[in-house]
């Protein structure tokens, strides 16, 4: 598969919490790094996020969860993507996630977890590398 000219990322807010500041910070940082970012808005279900990811043909989905429901919501998004034959879309997550939950989430197929205090540049670097890897692009040099 040849690499697209522009990578596309969905930033989703599944679940009940109403705080989207972190999600918006990441969305803006990704835009400023040259990504096209689709923002879902609050209170999404895993199903609606997966449909959105497919319709928007994104390369990856970033999930921001502050409600504590990450252990169910994040693996559910991964599972539904696989079920839809869209497991080439990688999933990463951020939010208030206890260290002991992280191995389980990674086991469930979440590609990376970012906890509060992670520099935004780390997140951008991860997304860039994950997209490059997906298409076998050697250097992320633009």
């Amino acid at each position: 598969m040849t690499a697209p000219t522009t990578y596309r990322i969905l930033i989703g807010k599944p679940g009940l919490d109403g705080h989207d500041r972190g999600a918006k910070v990441i969305a803006r940082a990704l835009r400023d790094a040259g990504f096209e970012v689709i923002y879902s808005g609050l209170h999404q279900t895993p199903e609606s996020l997966v449909r959105t990811a497919i319709q928007e043909d994104v390369d990856g989905v970033g999930l921001s969860i502050l409600s504590g429901a990450h252990n169910t919501l994040m693996p559910e998004v991964v599972r539904l993507l696989t079920e839809e034959g869209a497991d080439d879309i990688f999933v990463f997550g951020g939010g208030i996630i206890p260290a002991e939950d992280i191995p389980g989430l990674l086991d469930a197929g979440v590609k990376a977890i970012f906890t509060p205090g992670t520099p935004t540049t780390d997140v951008i670097d991860f997304v860039q590398t994950a997209c490059d890897e997906k298409y076998g692009v050697q250097e992320s040099g633009e």
């Binding site: 000219t5 096209e36 497919i54």
Partner: protein
């Protein structure tokens, strides 16, 4: 023979359609064949354009319109265009936020697109995306465009019905803009009717319309003016009625004449894109550098060199 990608799109597969939309957006050569194969399956959808300034409530309105089309059983494809950042080339595409109540409805497909530097409120790929939705069998295609200056609203060339959304309280300086909008609006939507200044806005638009139509000979029909509060849904039934009336009047009009106009613009848009690609290819070929050096060394002049450049471009060759 239909290629697998085009066949999957015709079968209504969302994943394949979304992928083809991306290939079209990227200007990938692979898109071309599939789009060519889809063309015979197009021409059936009703295309509704929605244009207006940022923040005027277009996405909120589109969300309501999707709901009303769904209520009558029509399937809806939606293309939501937002601007690309000129600084990074990236974009935040947030129109969906207002439409996510339809995310679980298989009869609705929403696609966010960035302008990627294209002027006129649409992305270069928007016509291709319309074609893909059309070939998939969507009954209605709604295109939300980036609101821009009055001279640059491309969607009217592709839409069957164009809504222009205005809101109160933007000041007198938009008067001039409204004059240009007269040309493109099939229906005026005065949104945020819950805001002060709505009466004044309505008066202004009516005055502009009567002046404009008096000046333009032979134009007998005036676009209707609908007052809406998209946030609450007030005024939506009348807008839906106005849209339906316009759609009916189109069906009575000469369909062929409309298709001629639409296809003329489409062919020009495709040719312009191809030309730009060829131009870039020619301008980055090593032979071009040699030509530049010839000019600098005085063996030829810029005009002769430009002729050689164009000749090479039209031969689809290097300089």
């Amino acid at each position: 023979m239909t290629s697998p990608l085009a066949q999957r799109v015709l079968d209504g597969e969302h994943r394949a359609a979304a992928r083809l939309m991306r290939l079209a957006d990227d200007g990938a050569p692979a898109a071309r064949q599939a789009l060519t194969e889809l063309f015979p399956h197009t021409g059936n959808a009703y295309i509704l354009g929605v244009t207006g300034n940022p923040g005027s409530g277009k996405s909120t309105l589109v969300n309501r319109l999707i709901k009303s089309f769904r209520a009558t059983g029509s399937t809806v494809g939606c293309i939501a265009v937002d601007p690309t950042s000129p600084f990074s080339g990236g974009a935040i595409l947030g129109d969906r936020v207002r439409m996510q109540e339809h995310a679980d409805d298989p009869g609705v497909f929403i696609r966010s697109v960035a302008t990627r530097g294209h002027l006129g409120g649409l992305s270069r790929s928007t016509p291709a995306m319309i074609q893909i939705f059309d070939a998939m069998g969507f009954d209605v295609i709604i295109v939300e465009t980036v609101g821009v200056g009055q001279d640059e609203v491309d969607i009217v060339r592709f839409a069957d019905t164009s809504l222009v959304v205005l809101v109160p309280g933007l000041g007198d300086d938009i008067q001039a803009d409204k004059a240009g909008l007269m040309e493109i609006a099939d229906i005026f939507v005065l949104n945020k009717a819950d805001r002060p200044g709505i009466k004044r806005l309505e008066r202004e638009v009516r005055t502009m319309l009567s002046l404009h139509r008096a000046a333009a000979d032979g134009q007998t029909t005036r676009p209707p003016i609908c007052l809406t509060t998209a946030a609450t849904g007030d005024g939506l039934p009348l807008l839906v009625e106005a849209i339906d009336d316009h759609r009916q009047s189109l069906q009575r009009q000469d369909r062929r004449q409309r298709s001629l106009t639409q296809q003329a613009h489409l062919i020009r848009a495709i040719a312009r894109t191809e030309l730009e690609i060829l131009f870039e290819e020619t301008a980055t070929a090593p032979q071009f550098s040699a030509l530049v050096a010839d000019v600098v060394d005085g063996t030829t002049d810029p005009f002769t060199a430009a002729d050689a450049f164009l000749a090479a471009l039209l031969r689809r060759n290097d300089v």
